[in-house]
């Protein structure tokens, strides 16, 4: 096992209110410490908003602006432009959003910020649903997953956000996982040094929302990567795809089995999920040309 190499410099504090065992807090710790102090964060309603802290407390050291759910990318653009106007163009502007604020209600503002190639680092903590409101489906929720608003399982696929963003030809898009923190660190460092729009989508297995045991979130994320359910890759300028974990080493079964949202799935439904994963993997391989 690789040693975790991110630099801890006090950007994220203990005492926050994430669920015990939550890997969103872990990913946030890595992102904030890697970005450093010269940064401003914009946070729409999400688990991150709660983790960052209610008034008068803050678990993060950089200034945070809590914006509205659909406004993340637009608000981050406003902060960035103001900093540029005030002679601080090098300050990193982060948007820390959930998948609801990214795939659903925030998509319009995100698309526009991408089209304008705003110089922001947009991080989506993707827990595949509205987990902060008790676990309802978003357009990031995958096929057959049970949520509060899909009690019989979701009937449609997860939206492919990377392809949507790639169509905007922004400088940098990457997926990341709390199971691969060094990969996440490298991607944050890389993104920080690119001017223009950068988007990181980090898979966050949600303990209560997915029905994962308190000590199994990292393992769950690793299973997702190993099964090719959540491949780790980068897209530069919308066209250059690079796979970071090059192989899909196992079927989806054990990944599904550790989550209550996939409980009582028929063999047929498991096969349907496997078929989607295989198809997406092949599609990704075609784009990377084996890179």
């Amino acid at each position: 096992m690789e040693a975790i190499k991110y630099e801890e410099n006090g950007q994220f504090h203990s005492g926050h209110v994430a669920c015990a065992g939550c890997v969103e807090a872990l990913a946030l710790r890595v992102v904030l410490n890697t970005v450093g102090q010269d940064a401003v964060a914009v946070v729409p309603p999400s688990c991150t908003a709660v983790i960052c802290g209610g008034y008068p407390f803050s678990s993060v050291k950089i200034p945070v602006f809590h914006t509205t759910l659909e406004s993340g990318a637009a608000s981050a653009s406003g902060v960035k432009r103001a900093l540029v106007a005030k002679g601080k163009p090098d300050t990193t502007v982060l948007c820390l959003a959930g998948d609801g604020g990214t795939y659903d209600i925030g998509l319009q503002a995100l698309s526009s910020a991408a089209e304008r190639n705003e110089d922001i680092l947009y991080v989506c903590f993707d827990n595949e649903g509205y987990m902060n409101t008790g676990g309802q489906k978003s357009s990031s929720t995958p096929l057959n997953a049970v949520t509060g608003s899909t009690p019989a399982g979701k009937l449609t696929r997860k939206k492919n956000m990377v392809e949507i963003l790639a169509a905007h030809r922004i400088p940098y898009i990457a997926t990341a996982s709390p199971s691969d923190l060094n990969d996440l660190t490298d991607k944050v460092k890389k993104a920080k040094n690119i001017r223009g729009m950068k988007v990181l989508i980090i898979l966050i297995p949600c303990l209560p929302g997915w029905g994962v045991a308190d000590d199994r979130a990292v393992a769950c994320a690793r299973e997702a990567v190993n099964a090719g359910v959540f491949p780790l890759f980068e897209v530069e300028d919308g066209t250059k795809y690079t796979l970071n974990v090059k192989e899909k080493v196992q079927p989806v079964n054990s990944y599904l089995a550790m989550q209550k949202r996939y409980r009582q799935l028929s063999e047929e439904k498991i096969s349907a999920i496997q078929a989607d994963v295989d198809e997406d993997w092949q599609r990704l391989m075609d784009k990377t040309n084996g890179r």
Binding site: Y55, I62, T68, S77, G78, V79, A82, A109
Partner: protein, 386 residues
């Protein structure tokens, strides 16, 4: 002495607004086009392309994102300007509340236009009046010159009180009508409008957060603080309007009284209709009827004391509302009844729904209505007139 000798330009109301924005040197201007606001946007982008404005211009995908960017830019310490109309303003509604709660200093110009459905592009003030509970300062302008002057004054006001300000003029009657406008010298505006230096902002040297979740008592306190700031608006805008008058010869008050002193009947209205009403008042005076006009320039916060003082002892007031609030009637009518409730020597107050949907209201119309309603029994409901 402060005026350029050739400072008069032929400008539409909208281009006068663009000139005002240019003179105020906003750091950030997020803008989204909508009829009939577009000439404001296009002139600003022309100024920018020509290097006359150094502003960071954002052209996002919606008014919603435009206002989102306004809010966060203002909280980062930037001077912010935007402009919209009708559907655009309505789309912003959620964020209009947010902008006030976050105590931003955004200055926004709104061109009053009918809200859909059905689609219309006509002068009607329902779009902005429907935002009256958001907490934005609202000013209504009668002419291109007043629009230019009011934008500049609004930056002084908003940045002093940390309350966003919305200035409104009527679609086409003001937005697209062209008249000679005195465009003040840049030096004059620079001297009048100090740099924006908010006490608190998003600052990497101070890790403070804005808008974090709070408890009930803190939310409650935020509204009391907002109320305290609102209480200062009327005096501040009066002071600022007079200071502007000392520099330019054009002084402004929250309310303007025209031939009201010995009036037996007073027309009360806002925006472009004031110009027509002025003409009607002159006609009526020539016919021996002691009529006057009370122009409401500051609508939010409502200048209650000034309204009470202006109307007390006048036998009859006729409110002309170019808006219709279903279930209520004319919004200014409702407001005036509320302000005068319990006042001694309050006038009888007629409310007329005049020009709703952009119907033309002529001086002759106003003259006839004054004659008719001065003698009529007061109805509690606003009356439709044509």
């Amino acid at each position: 002495m402060n005026k350029m000798p050739n400072s008069l330009q032929l400008l539409s109301g909208n281009h006068a607004v663009s000139w005002a924005a240019r003179l105020c040197k906003p750091d950030v201007a997020p803008l989204y086009p909508i009829t009939p606001q577009t000439p404001i946007l296009e002139k600003i982008t022309e100024f920018h392309a020509a290097g006359a404005m150094k502003t960071e211009l954002l052209t996002p995908e919606s008014e919603h994102s435009a206002m989102s960017a306004c809010i966060s830019a203002s909280l980062t310490g930037a001077r912010v300007f935007t402009a919209t109309s009708s559907q655009g303003l309505l789309l912003m509604h959620e964020l209009l509340h947010y902008a006030v709660g976050a105590r931003t200093a955004i200055v926004m110009f709104n061109v009053n236009r009918t809200p859909a459905s059905p689609w219309g592009f006509w002068p009607d003030q329902l779009d902005s009046l429907a935002q009256r509970d958001t907490g934005w300062i609202q000013l209504y302008s009668e002419t291109p010159q007043e629009s230019l002057d009011t934008v500049i004054q609004s930056f002084v006001l908003s940045e002093k009180l940390n309350l966003p300000c919305m200035i409104n003029h009527d679609a086409f009657y003001v937005s697209h009508s062209v008249e000679p406008v005195d465009v003040p010298d840049q030096g004059l505006v620079d001297g009048f409008l100090p740099p924006f230096a908010p006490e608190h902002m998003l600052d990497t040297n101070v890790g403070s957060s804005f808008g974090a979740p709070i408890d009930q008592a803190t939310w409650n306190r935020s509204r009391k603080e907002m109320a305290a700031a609102n209480d200062l608006v009327c005096d501040e805008i009066t002071k600022i309007g007079r200071e502007w008058g000392a520099l330019t010869g054009r002084s402004y008050e929250p309310l303007e009284k025209y031939r009201c002193d010995d009036a037996e009947v007073v027309v009360v209205t806002m925006g472009s209709m004031c110009g027509t009403a002025r003409e009607a008042i002159d006609d009526l005076r020539n016919q021996g009827i002691q009529a006057g006009l009370l122009k409401v320039r500051l609508f939010r916060p409502l200048p209650k004391q000034a309204l009470q003082d202006a109307l007390r002892g006048i036998p009859c007031a006729i409110v002309l509302d170019r808006n219709y609030s279903p279930g209520t009637g004319g919004i200014l009518h409702q407001e005036l009844k509320s302000v005068m409730y319990g006042q001694e020597n309050a006038p009888k107050i007629h409310g007329l729904l005049a020009g709703v949907g952009g119907l033309n209201v002529s001086a002759e119309n106003i003259r006839d209505w004054v004659k008719k309603y001065q003698k009529a029994k007061v109805e509690p409901e606003s009356q439709w007139v044509e």
